[in-house]
């Protein structure tokens, strides 16, 4: 009986779902005319003017995988503290080459809980790549043939959900949901903000006070301005909504949830909490950063990394500490980072290429340093959103004017009187948590596209090794000389300075198959004395430590037998290639 009821429910459910499913089909193509650079009628229809919840992200990724099974693989790399899957999109043309054997490019976002638009930008990239591939764009097709793009839309899903659904400011929380005893009293997360007007947002508090130093802007009742010298005040500002001492220790809101920094938890140039505030007990103490670490160690092919943050319109590069700590930045590394970054400044108006320690502040144990220092990748960290985008004017821009003229005051929560247990009657109001650090809806897609284009430039310039040219010469005595030119026509070298200094990856291996190898050399053509480097050990597999950006190396073998030769190159971060000659 029960079974029958169940199947009826099931049938009813299917019946309900069917029309939805057919609605999800692509609309008829004659309804649209293509705009340059965007997919005209994408398989997956997405509105890029709102934000996804965690479930929304998962749903998007699942649908993207279903629409583009030839390109997309959705997996989980681990669980967050609260048990959410840390999801990963692997995007590449699925063919004969394994994704780990192509140069990898990795994007993650949302390490700071409130910095949510990076997730959407990472999703935009996934969507754009797959839809443009499906449309036949030549650049994207070649990119996904040659490279593997790894995307983790959020590496702090717990914190993201807390930001979205719990009372928060535009910058809280920073961390995830691992309990932390910030005031060191034995209680965890016991003294947070208080949402006095129950609107899910923590804004500002003001109290009428003729001795206060603030007044209402006569031209805009939303805005508070400082009184002029000698002028009578109207308000005192009481800080963030809350200021209630829940644990009775004389301090308010000092032990909130997520008051730690997952971006100080990484095992390179790590320092403890009293040197680097926000750090955990030891490196990789958090389950989320551990999951990313384990993923990284299994994907040494990742040569380029983008870490999306907000805010301020910055393309950040290392070092994160003066002198780099234990990191190396070679001349070539600096050249690559600066050249790609400078192009990025043109691609993303309002964004500037900056160096973390000197232009921003010192960061110990940041994720940037781990990818650069421990993994040998070339990394940028884009701080998304800048006030420049409000009126396309330098400077921070006037949020009140922008909200009034362009958002119709949708971003402002009007002042409202509430009772505060300590301060009495106060007013609560201010900008919503979705304004100030994250993009307003209508400006999102354009900035997402620009940042995506920058990432794809960066991804394109991960090293790409190719067997270019093979010459065979008969040198008598049954011997032949086989000379192969191996190129890397991209900006990044196969091995960064850090990679070379610490042997993070093995050298590039260049094999000659199909003959008896007597000797092998790396040819130094610039040295007219012919002082080639002979590799005495196992010359069939030549070891080339590095192939610089936009350059090539020649290797040469003396071979005693065979007449069909295959030259193969294997580079951990530069991919693989082979060529056969007779």
């Amino acid at each position: 009986m029960k079974i029958i009821v169940k199947s009826i429910v099931l049938i009813a459910t299917i019946a309900l779902l069917l029309p939805v499913a057919s609605n999800a089909q692509r609309p008829s193509p004659e309804l649209f005319f293509k705009a340059a650079g965007s997919p005209v009628n994408p398989k997956l229809q997405v509105s890029w003017n709102r934000y996804h919840s965690y479930d929304g992200i998962v749903d998007f990724c699942e649908r993207l995988e279903r629409k583009h099974p030839n390109l997309v693989t959705l997996t989980s790399v681990g669980k967050s503290y609260e048990g959410r899957d840390m999801i990963l999109l692997t995007i590449t043309e699925k063919g004969d080459t394994e994704h780990q054997h192509k140069p990898g490019y990795y994007v993650n976002a949302n390490i700071h809980a409130a910095e949510i638009q990076g997730s959407e930008m990472a999703m935009y990239m996934a969507w754009y790549l797959t839809e443009m591939y499906a449309e036949g764009n030549v650049f994207i097709r070649e990119l996904l043939r040659d490279k593997t793009i790894y995307i983790m839309p959020t590496i702090n899903p717990d914190g993201r959900e807390n930001f979205l659904w719990e009372p928060n400011t535009g910058s809280s929380p920073r961390g995830g949901m691992v309990p932390r005893d910030n005031d060191r009293d034995g209680l965890f997360d016991e003294d947070g903000f208080a949402d006095l007007n129950n609107d899910g947002v923590i804004t500002q508090m003001r109290r009428r006070n003729p001795d206060g130093d603030w007044k209402t802007d006569p031209n805009d009742p939303r805005r508070m301005i400082r009184v002029a010298p000698g002028e009578q005040g109207e308000w005192e500002l009481l800080g963030r909504e809350g200021q209630i001492d829940e644990d009775g220790d004389g301090r308010a809101d000092e032990d909130r949830v997520g008051m730690y920094d997952p971006n100080r938890d990484w095992g390179y140039n790590w320092r403890p909490n009293y040197v680097q505030s926000g750090a955990s007990q030891f490196p990789f103490a958090l389950p989320e950063s551990r999951a990313v670490r384990d993923f990284g160690f299994e994907h040494m092919n990742i040569a380029g990394v983008q870490l999306y943050h907000n805010t301020g319109g910055m393309i950040l590069r290392g070092p994160s500490v003066q002198g780099g700590g234990s990191e190396v930045y070679s001349r070539e590394d600096n050249m690559v980072l600066d050249r790609i970054g400078r192009i990025g400044e043109r691609m993303i108006p309002g964004y500037r290429l900056l160096t973390i320690w000197s232009d921003l502040y010192t960061v110990w144990g940041g994720e940037y340093d781990w990818w650069h220092g421990a993994m040998g990748a070339y990394v940028y960290c884009n701080e998304l959103w800048t006030g420049y985008l409000m009126f396309n004017e330098p400077g921070r821009g006037d949020q009140y004017e922008f909200d009034r003229l362009l958002l119709f005051e949708d971003a402002f929560i009007p002042w409202e009187e509430v009772d505060h247990p300590v301060f009495g009657k106060v007013e609560v109001g201010g900008f919503n948590k979705n304004f100030g650090r994250i993009h307003p809806g209508f400006l999102f897609e354009s900035d997402a596209h620009r940042n995506t284009a920058f990432c794809l430039l960066h991804a394109y310039h991960t090293p790409q090794v190719k067997v270019d040219d093979i010459e065979i010469e008969d040198i008598g005595g049954g011997l032949r000389r086989v000379t192969a030119t191996i190129t890397n026509d991209r900006m990044m070298p196969t091995h960064s300075g850090q990679n070379l200094r610490y042997n993070i990856d093995p050298p590039n291996y260049i094999y000659l198959d199909g003959g008896e190898v007597i000797a092998g050399f790396i040819v130094n053509e610039r040295n007219h004395l012919g002082n080639d480097f002979e590799q005495r050990h196992n010359p069939q597999r030549m070891e080339v430590r590095n192939i610089s950006g936009q350059s090539s190396v020649k290797v040469r073998w003396i071979v005693s037998s065979g007449n069909r030769f295959t030259v193969r190159v294997e580079s951990v971060k530069g991919g693989r290639d082979s060529k056969e000659v007779r």
Partner: protein
């Protein structure tokens, strides 16, 4: 005939090794002993396995305490901090054995009512097991073959025992471009030829190993694995040899770190390992300070270190100081600088040696004077496939003998160090209320004054713990009677750091009569209560 001869040699080798290596316990024996011990004292001890190493060995934790044992000040005791230091394992395990055997004495009963001990007898079981293996070599690294130097993973060649004596010692190869010569002080010891003294090298030196198939490069120790005592975040060396892929990367280091940080009651750590700050206390200002980083012991902690060090000399009667270097990522300094607790360490035994002198020469001299045999493998010629034309000899000081005393000395060292830790444990922070006064200031208003006094020698928290977010800060809290209110002063406030033998005064203005319950301290200092009646 040849075969018989070989077995005879093997048999002799086994017999001698049993004699020489009798007293130290291997992992299986120690595990059995610890289980028996915990079963014999079920009410005050508990044995748990914190984690299993890659080599499948338990990291044992023996908790010794009474009552709410995790709610009182704790001391953590470690052995096996470095895998070739077998003595440390015996010192830590022996500490637990002595303490439990003495647990019926009034002294230990009193101690356990105030302090809980967390004993980790061996945190390097993968490495220390090499001492009991067929092939013995000075091993400090675990069985997880990860190296920061990842490119070399799996491409190396293990040691091999060329002379079949069961030890990996050194190999010297006569060579015109040699780098080493026999020492003038003791020709058994090989030292680097000093060009400044016009010396020519006669030998190339390698660890004992066979043909390597690695491109004409002679065998070297390429074994992967991570040293517990190089894997900590203070002064950690990125990409260091046996340092791991990052600080606190290993199952055993991570499990130990998590346990220690989860136990806010622990206020001091004793490590029996290669570092020493007991024979010679740490000195404030010994390292150049960074901007915000603390790299030398803080002044009031230095005072306590000196006090503990002088007790160490008195109780154990040791003389001289071991020549040690604070290796990068070591556990003792981590426990102080990054864990924020009092941290003490001693190797427990050392041979007389002057700083800067050749340690092998000093060791052989000491061995001769003290009649210690079976410590050196005489140089012996072998055929070596890598060097067919050259004279190759294998020999040198045996593994483990420079870091571990002969078996017959172990029990005395264990016993004296037990007495030392027991005595220092008695110096724990110990709070009491003093000078409680109530002044009637009129109009039903009373001024309550009291001091919290620390009659212990250790401060309520170490000075290094003050800025460390993961060190508990005790509070002082008032519970008022109905109808009473505080006019001035906080109901809950931080006790602040109170050094040993010092006190701190608190004042409140109270309105109304009744009993006020006052509580202070926390699990790392001990908690005290009192009630003040205002009438």
């Amino acid at each position: 005939m040849k075969i018989q001869f070989k077995s005879l040699i093997v048999a002799i080798a086994v017999v001698t090794s049993v004699q020489a290596y009798g007293q130290y316990r291997d992992h299986a024996t120690l595990s059995r002993d610890l289980n028996d011990l915990a079963r014999s004292y079920p009410t005050i001890s508990e044995l748990t396995s914190l984690v299993k190493t890659e080599g499948g060995k338990d990291i044992w934790l023996l908790t010794i305490g009474t009552g709410n044992k995790h709610e009182k000040p704790g001391i953590a005791v470690f052995g096996g901090v470095e895998g070739n230091h077998l003595l440390g394992i015996e010192m830590a395990a022996g500490f637990a054995e002595h303490l439990l055997r003495d647990s019926e004495t009034q002294e230990v009963r009193d101690l356990l009512s105030n302090v809980t001990f967390y004993v980790f007898p061996n945190v390097s079981p993968d490495a220390s097991q090499q001492y009991f293996a067929d092939l013995r070599y000075d091993r400090k690294w675990n069985a997880r073959p990860v190296e920061a130097n990842r490119a070399n993973r799996g491409e190396g060649v293990p040691f091999s025992d060329l002379n079949g004596d069961g030890y990996i010692t050194m190999m010297r190869v006569e060579h015109p471009a040699g780098t080493h010569v026999p020492s003038r002080d003791d020709p058994r010891v090989m030292v680097r030829a000093d060009l400044a003294r016009g010396e020519r090298g006669l030998y190339l030196m390698f660890p004992e190993g066979a043909e390597s198939n690695n491109g004409g490069r002679p065998a070297e120790n390429i074994e992967g694995g991570v040293n517990f005592n190089n894997n900590w975040s203070f002064n950690y060396q990125e990409f260091g040899r046996h340092a791991g892929p990052h600080a606190v990367s290993e199952p055993e280091t991570e499990a130990v770190a998590e346990f220690l940080f989860d136990h806010f009651n622990i206020y001091a750590v004793f490590a029996f390992g290669p570092q020493d700050n007991l024979a010679q206390p740490m000195r404030s200002g010994e390292r150049r300070a960074g901007t915000r980083e603390i790299t030398s012991i803080l002044r009031t902690d230095e005072t306590i270190n000196r006090l503990v060090s002088s007790r160490y000399r008195e109780v154990t009667g040791v003389r001289g100081t071991p020549v040690t270097t604070n290796v990068s990522g070591n556990f003792m300094e981590w426990a102080y600088f990054h864990y924020g607790r009092y941290s003490f360490s001693t190797p427990g035994w050392w041979f007389p040696q002057e700083r800067g002198a050749n340690s092998e020469v000093a060791f052989l001299k000491y061995a001769e004077e003290s009649g210690r045999n079976d410590i050196f493998v005489p140089w012996q010629e072998v055929n070596h496939p890598d060097f067919p034309e050259r004279k190759v000899e294998v020999g040198g000081i045996k593994p483990f003998v420079m870091t571990n005393p002969p078996a017959e000395m172990v029990s005395g060292i264990v016993e004296s160090n037990y007495r030392f830790v027991k005595e220092v444990a008695g110096m724990h922070p110990d709070l009491q209320f003093i000078d409680i006064e109530v002044d009637n200031v009129g109009s039903d208003i009373y001024r309550l004054t009291l001091s919290v006094h620390n009659r212990g020698f250790f401060a309520t928290i170490a000075e290094i713990g003050a800025p460390n977010q993961f060190v508990r800060l005790p509070r002082i809290t008032l519970e008022l009677a109905r109808g009473q209110e505080i006019l001035s002063g906080d109901r809950v406030q931080q006790l602040g750091r109170i050094e040993g033998t010092r006190s701190r005064e608190f004042i409140w203005l109270i309105r109304g009569r009744g009993n006020i319950d006052i509580r202070t301290g926390d699990i790392n200092t001990g908690v005290i209560n009192t009630t003040v009646n205002i009438r």
